[in-house]
Symmetry: C2
Subunit: 345 residues, 2 copies
């Protein structure tokens, strides 16, 4: 597919590793006061007031992404966003990233430019500096490793372990769309393989496909909560599905929870596509990954501050640990949650 769209112009074999790094480093702007030195030395030099948070993720072709329907620019963007999401899930501000890329010789220099264009766009969108990384060849495919650094200067980082009985469980945005976007893309790819003349019509699925291909991290929520003067007692980002993430909060905080099925925020397009695919939308919201929304707990007295905000939905509350983690269905049945999130093995 890469070869179809862009004929190979510059083989990576023609360039040295240093040349490649320097080429992309040139376009890495260093804008934040906390970035003293970016790319170009043995290490980047940062100057964070207060606490520093740091997280890393690896993305492997054929496991985490399929270049058959994931354009390289989107991949670069998403790889960054996924990591920034972890920083925002600490209630911190993302400030710097480091990106390592291992790539086989089936990729051209132009393909790498696309990938870095996405990386740079994400940096610009979220106001983070690209301060380091590594570029190397691989035997097969493309592997990306992103490390994100953030600053928790103004408030203490929000851990997974701070939730208490009776606190409210809040989720941002809506759930399940990224997973169903992937199902739509996979179906179109299957059709295309069977009939290469097929012209996919993704128009009815725009929202879902965008959630899959170009997810956004909730930087705005960290700022919103500060503005509302709400300090979450615990927080996590939803990368593996709601059920799995809420169980992480329960486990780390030594509490149970109740999630109300009728409160789970679902986009209308998700509901109609779940009907089309004949799958249960609640199951998709609970187990579909890659939404990168935030899930957090607040004290009951903070409810008035968030009430009515379209970005925030109270979906349940924490309970004593002995109650376990449960879903209360529309039919008022109480059933134990199961973590069935997507796993890399």
């Amino acid at each position: 597919m890469l070869e179809d769209k862009k004929p190979a112009k510059t083989s990576l074999d023609e360039l040295g590793e240093f040349a490649l790094i320097e080429q992309f480093a040139k376009s890495a702007t260093v804008a934040l006061p906390s970035t003293l030195h970016g790319i170009g030395d043995d290490a980047a030099v940062l100057n964070h007031e207060g606490k520093t948070v740091v997280s890393t993720d690896m993305l492997v072709e054929g496991i985490h992404f399929d270049l058959g329907y994931m354009p390289l620019k989107h991949l670069g963007y998403k790889a960054v966003v996924v990591n920034l999401s972890d920083i925002y899930a600490m209630g911190a501000q993302a400030t710097q990233i480091l990106v390592s890329v291992a790539v086989s010789n089936r990729f051209t220099l132009e393909a790498m430019e696309e990938l870095y264009a996405g990386i740079h766009l994400a940096c610009k969108t979220y106001g983070v500096d690209l301060v380091g990384g590594d570029t190397t060849s691989s035997r097969q495919g493309l592997q990306l490793s992103v490390t994100a650094v953030g600053s928790a200067a103004e408030a203490a980082p929000v851990l997974r372990s701070g939730a208490a009985d009776k606190e409210l469980l809040v989720v941002t945005g809506d759930l399940g769309a990224a997973y169903m976007g992937l199902q739509v893309l996979a179906r179109e790819q299957d059709v295309f393989k069977a009939n290469p003349n097929h012209k996919p019509d993704l128009e009815p699925y725009t929202f879902l496909v965008e959630r899959q291909l170009k997810p956004e991290a909730r930087k705005d929520i960290v700022e919103l909560l500060q503005a509302l003067e709400v300090t979450p007692t615990s927080m996590i980002d939803i990368s593996d599905g709601l059920a799995s993430e809420v169980m992480h909060l329960c486990q780390k905080s030594d509490v149970g929870c109740r999630i109300y099925e009728d409160k789970i925020p679902l986009d209308p397009q998700l509901i109609s596509v779940c009907e089309e695919f004949n799958v249960d939308s609640t199951t998709i919201a609970l187990s579909g990954g890659e939404d990168y929304e935030l899930l957090f707990t607040i004290k009951q007295e903070d409810f008035d501050k968030i009430k009515g905000n379209p970005n925030l939905t109270v979906i349940g509350h924490m309970t004593e640990k002995s109650d376990g983690a449960n879903l209360v269905t529309r039919g008022d049945e109480v059933i134990p949650l199961k973590a069935q999130g997507w796993k890399a093995f």
Copy 2:
């Protein structure tokens, strides 16, 4: 080779990603006061006084290492050491690392335990905390990404750009051994392939082989220089060969240099093995990679402080930029240096 030594006991497919991460996270000790929270949340939380330095590297099977002669425990150790070396090259103290591992299903849980045993040993040896990472499957082979974080609390980080005309160029330890160690191992592997009954005798090559399989980073030099009250004006670690690294210093500092061939520190075992392989030892020292020694510049007035120290060798001096980067041979010829270091492409 892995299968020969350790029969598959636990397939990675049997375990979830979370189980694997948690299993190895249990043995990750958090010991430093600057590590507030390690593995187990969306991000690690660090509390560094002063400046933070951060660097990352990716190691790919078949490109950077060959498991035919690199045991997994050594690989884990080396992957960490290589990254710590970048932190010490800033004159900083390494404090935390994050390690991501992508691994195909040809590896067993026991193999991963070996890898992490090496990672943990390096952490213990260098006094750094393992605070994060990612574990995922790969389509083929093993890929490792290590991010190292350090603290430059007491002194400003030493950049590559601070060298000036007439300053002395100093190198630690000796050069070329890691590269010749690799040649020895590759030769033994070729012999073994031709004759599987061949018993390799690595005894005469112990030093070289250890430099290749178990390199150490020069944490001691950062401490030594502090004790001697010597502040390098520029510094870099030697991962790609002396010539390539000194040219980085020249380029970033806008100076030239002269290296004296007869001053380049070589181990006697290196000299004899170069004779055996019929290669020029100066070429090996200039272009062979992976020594992880430090190369730095000091002001002339600091010479008395380092004179006679067995860890430190003055190999030349910086010059005006217009003179270029040159080697002065034993025959007093002045020839331009060429960066012929190992490149990943």
